[in-house]
Subunit: 313 residues, 2 copies
């Protein structure tokens, strides 16, 4: 049976045709304008899914799973709140199911990625898994007993908003010192901006001018690879914060696996070395010996594949 996975980002729609094994057969990335009333956006999404099905001879695919950034009530099929899409209480499942004449499941996008990571990276030997998506923000999803753990209102897994420093930086969520505020792209950019303003990184300043690029984890990585002490310290600090959060997760949830994905995880040793060292130094011996931490090689796929596979759960 073929399944359809859809990842509904802030600017793009990713659609994929996925086998039940998790293998992605076809995919497309389509720009979409979310700055219209939700009803019209949903109709647009439905017609793009239909035309994708037509193009790829997948008329029979009647299970659609969709991931959305935000607070999703998957049981009721409602997007309670999505700041990225500007949606509030949109009955997405009902609307889409009607337009597509299909069985539709909707889910938070980081939960979809976690399910994808579980199915693609870990299913064989894993009961409990945590997935962290290190992007602009930090998302998370938790698999417990081989099932996606949603919590009591479907809100579980917001690992980006685990406090790592209770008197730390104000986070976009209104809390202070969240993991995201140190390890999310926006948090790292903020740290870099503060440093540049204080004249602590001439190299970042030069790189910004020379490349004309915007400040990004990528640029901070370039500066760090050129031995800029301040940029190296940003990665080091981000790694220690990530490691402290991983230690908290290991002490509390004692998972078999932690899978990292998303842009920031691609900086490799710059962030992983301090993170893994900190995790090992800080977490309890027995559970830290058990847990395997990896960067997913499927990355880009995890969200759509996970969404597609969740449509069958």
């Amino acid at each position: 049976m073929m399944l359809l996975g859809v990842d509904c980002g802030g600017t793009n729609l990713k659609i994929a045709l996925v086998k039940e094994s998790g293998e992605m057969v076809q995919s497309a990335l389509e720009p979409i304008n979310f700055k219209r009333p939700a009803g019209r956006v949903v109709s647009d999404i439905a017609s793009r899914i239909k035309s994708f099905k037509d193009r790829h001879g997948a008329i029979g695919a009647r299970n659609v799973g969709m991931g959305i950034a935000g607070d999703v009530d998957s049981a009721k099929g409602i997007v309670r709140f999505s700041p990225n899409l500007g949606w509030k209480n949109v009955p997405l499942k009902k609307l889409l199911a009607r337009d597509l004449n299909a069985s539709v499941a909707i889910e938070n996008d980081a939960n979809c990625a976690a399910w994808g990571a579980y199915c693609l990276d870990a299913k064989k030997d894993c009961e409990n898994l945590i997935c962290l998506t290190l992007g602009t923000g930090v998302g998370g999803g938790i698999i417990i007993g081989r099932k996606l753990y949603r919590g009591s209102t479907g809100s579980a897994g917001e690992i980006g908003h685990l406090t790592v420093k209770y008197d730390g930086r104000l986070c976009g969520c209104g809390s202070y010192g969240c993991l995201e505020s140190r390890v999310g792209a926006w948090g790292m950019i903020q740290t870099a901006k503060e440093g540049i303003a204080q004249g602590r990184s001439p190299m970042l300043k030069i790189l910004l001018r020379e490349t004309g690029a915007k400040l990004s984890p990528r640029l901070i990585e370039q500066a760090a690879r050129k031995n800029d002490p301040f940029s190296k310290k940003i990665w080091q600090d981000a790694g220690v914060c990530l490691g402290a959060a991983l230690a908290s997760l290991v002490n509390i949830l004692n998972p078999d696996r932690i899978v990292l994905c998303g842009g920031v995880s691609k900086a490799g040793d710059l962030i992983l070395k301090p993170a893994l060292r900190t995790l090992k130094e800080r977490a309890f011996a027995v559970p830290v010996q058990k847990v395997k931490v990896t960067v997913s090689k499927y990355d880009e796929k995890l969200g759509v594949v996970g969404a597609a596979l969740l449509s069958r759960e």
Copy 2:
């Protein structure tokens, strides 16, 4: 059917006869000398349980549940490590089952308390619960889907070792800025000691001299109730740290219930007010609206009753 619950603390043995409903029928508290070889201590425990059964006409009680502070492998029935008892890899379940001719279950003591809290405080309307034991240290236990969640090596639930400040105070576990280092009795005493050494609390100094008592959360509470600004600030800070940890737990695990127990939770508003305010300010709206935070009225009983009831799971 009658069950036996045993709580194996560092100096005392608590034994209780418990109905399957969770009602405690009889209990006893017996001092015990743990400074002997583990085998002899276990024989002693067994004979005390036997004599308790004899005294209370509970010869038929063949299910024994025992809670132990430390790292317990409940599946294999082994106490991997208990710093309090000085035990390492003690096959407690096998030894006790032989001596008692009974069906024995062993479990981490904070997990027992969590199971007790779930059964006594919350069973009716609760799927997912977190229990925090605020004592000398901070213990924790997690109920997910109406079952005790043990994680992949039985080590889950170490909520006292959730980081609240990654660059904070060194904790007994080797990590930094653990919840326990701010909210556990030892953490609060440490904060008070530092303050007294800096001359920041003349009142604590006077109270210590006048009462001849040792420094304790109780004494810091007395000083705070007499309006000592430094002692009030200790409770305020402990409350904010606890609230930040609760917010992390709500964002990650989205439970229906959080139950607090243990000595420090008895300080009431002094710690609860800042903790609940911080939780509400910091956690996501939907899950924080759902979660109910209470101080257990069963407190002392939770461990033994939970242990007894776990013997039937």
